[in-house]
Symmetry: C2
């Protein structure tokens, strides 16, 4: 599909893309660049790249597809460096979790004869680094592409086919709308999880060991989210500031309303609220974005009966 693919960054996403390209035989050559010498060594050792270059501008030379897989805060500097070296007619994409900011920072540095098409594969785990990648990461996950006006439709199709071959379902979206949708489905939930874990850490009346031991009762799901890569998430919040603060404001308003229902002991309204949220969960399972196994299937090896249906006791 491509003669030469250049990966800038070989963390969880970059390394998974490499393994998926190999698995589906989508490129003759994979080259890369990462700032860290340890990650460079690992990338070569794990066969993630045929060659690693000391600078991004060297890595992108002659590449037909260049993918930015570093935190979005680094994109402007990288775009400035690689812009003049990008191959004529090549495709440049990225995997950043925000899209308006990325477009604003990158587009000015890209020559007219290069096709810059922003992407966002909605895939990840709480792990990071070159060793955390696996070829199946993108399977059955969405990849949102936010092409600029005037982009060659054939090139959009080419990149879309690439993501689909990796197993993703592709959808095109306006970049600003993308940032609002992601603020709701990802950015604010992550911020809240970080906050809850931080709140627990600051409580001196109860021991950290107690929080940890008794975490199965809900808290541990937050800790998984809050264990995600800190550099990436710092950049996400700084680069999607407005949508994050907007959704956060609505969340706080809603939380205060629920807090008031508890303070005033309004049982019927609490029940109605908790009842409604079940329907959304059911929708997610029906949309195939999660397992219906109890407890995320954590204990499928021991759970003999998983036929539970959501119903009143």
């Amino acid at each position: 599909m491509f003669e030469r693919v250049a990966l800038i960054g070989v963390g969880l996403i970059g390394s998974s893309i490499s393994l998926a390209i190999r698995k589906h035989d989508l490129a003759q050559n994979i080259v890369g660049h990462t700032k860290s010498s340890e990650s460079t060594r690992l990338a070569l050792e794990l066969g993630l790249a045929d060659k690693m270059y000391p600078s991004p501008e060297e890595a992108v030379e002659n590449a037909d597809l260049v993918i930015l897989c570093t935190p979005v805060g680094t994109f402007e500097t990288i775009a400035r460096k690689i812009g003049p070296k990008l191959k004529q007619g090549s495709i440049l994409t990225d995997v950043g979790s925000v899209k308006r900011f990325v477009i604003d920072k990158v587009v000015g540095h890209i020559p007219d004869n290069v096709h810059f098409i922003p992407s966002h594969p909605l895939a990840g785990t709480e792990f990071s680094g070159p060793e955390s990648g696996f070829a199946e990461l993108f399977e059955n996950r969405w990849c949102l592409m936010t092409p600029l006006k005037g982009t060659d439709p054939d090139k959009i199709t080419e990149l879309s086919n690439f993501w689909q071959t990796l197993g993703s379902k592709v959808e095109l979206m306006d970049p600003n709308h993308h940032d609002t949708v992601l603020a709701v489905t990802s950015h604010v939930p992550h911020l809240i999880a970080y906050t809850m874990v931080g709140t627990a850490d600051h409580l001196h009346r109860i021991r950290n060991s107690e929080v940890i031991q008794y975490s199965a009762a809900g808290f541990r799901d937050f800790t998984r989210i809050a264990a995600s890569d800190p550099t990436m998430w710092r950049d996400v919040f700084l680069s999607n500031k407005e949508a994050t603060l907007d959704i956060l404001g609505r969340f706080t308003e809603e939380l205060f309303a629920l807090q008031r229902l508890i303070r005033t002991e309004n049982g019927p309204e609490l029940f109605d609220y908790f009842h409604k949220t079940r329907a959304i969960r059911q929708g997610i399972i029906e949309a195939g974005q999660d397992t219906a196994s109890p407890d995320f299937g954590r204990s499928t090896s021991t759970i003999s009966k998983t036929r539970g249906k959501s119903q009143e006791p």
Copy 2:
């Protein structure tokens, strides 16, 4: 171990206790009561009880162990009814998620010659009802017991052995301390998850189908928590009001501090905050309360490499 066990309520916890008792052969007879005629029918059909009684007071007669497995809001009424019928020398326990409230509501109705020992197995899934139970629910999970002063130590040991045979690790705790610990590890995280799911539901700029489709990016973990039984959770918040509001106040304070870091674009402090929360996650995995598999092992069937370590990219 017991001649006759009476289960009041046969939802997720009650049905799991029944199946676990059968599996480990801990009782000659299991009897029960539930208000719902549909649940009564299911309990008999699934073999959860040898006999179901139309009233709790009939169910507890001659039982050596009585376990209250209904939402905590029902306990006072049930205690008043069963108190006079409880067998002399029998053990009465419960599985409620709060303990001070339960003690306050129940203890006055229990005769002196009955051993009332509150319990709280920290186990559950997002499902409810008689069909959702499974015998392994309590395996490797904590069960917190909050015995009152003056309780016969032999009876505490007897009940502790019961939970341990079901696979639980038992710890004794002061009831007020229990309620604070659970507010942090369970009650407030649930409230926040409900709030986030509710916030998404109210946003009219983005379609519900979008929220659902793109939920894998963090939101779906919240929806699992927010899909839990609404009656149970209404009762938890009303009966652990003070600790919930206290922890919620701290959470809000913390959230505002993080919101300010975003508004003022303070990258270094955001990074430090997100970095610290990783350590807590690691502690939970080391304590054996969760899997280290990426993404909770959701896709273990397709993930070929799970050797990812938490590290910087």
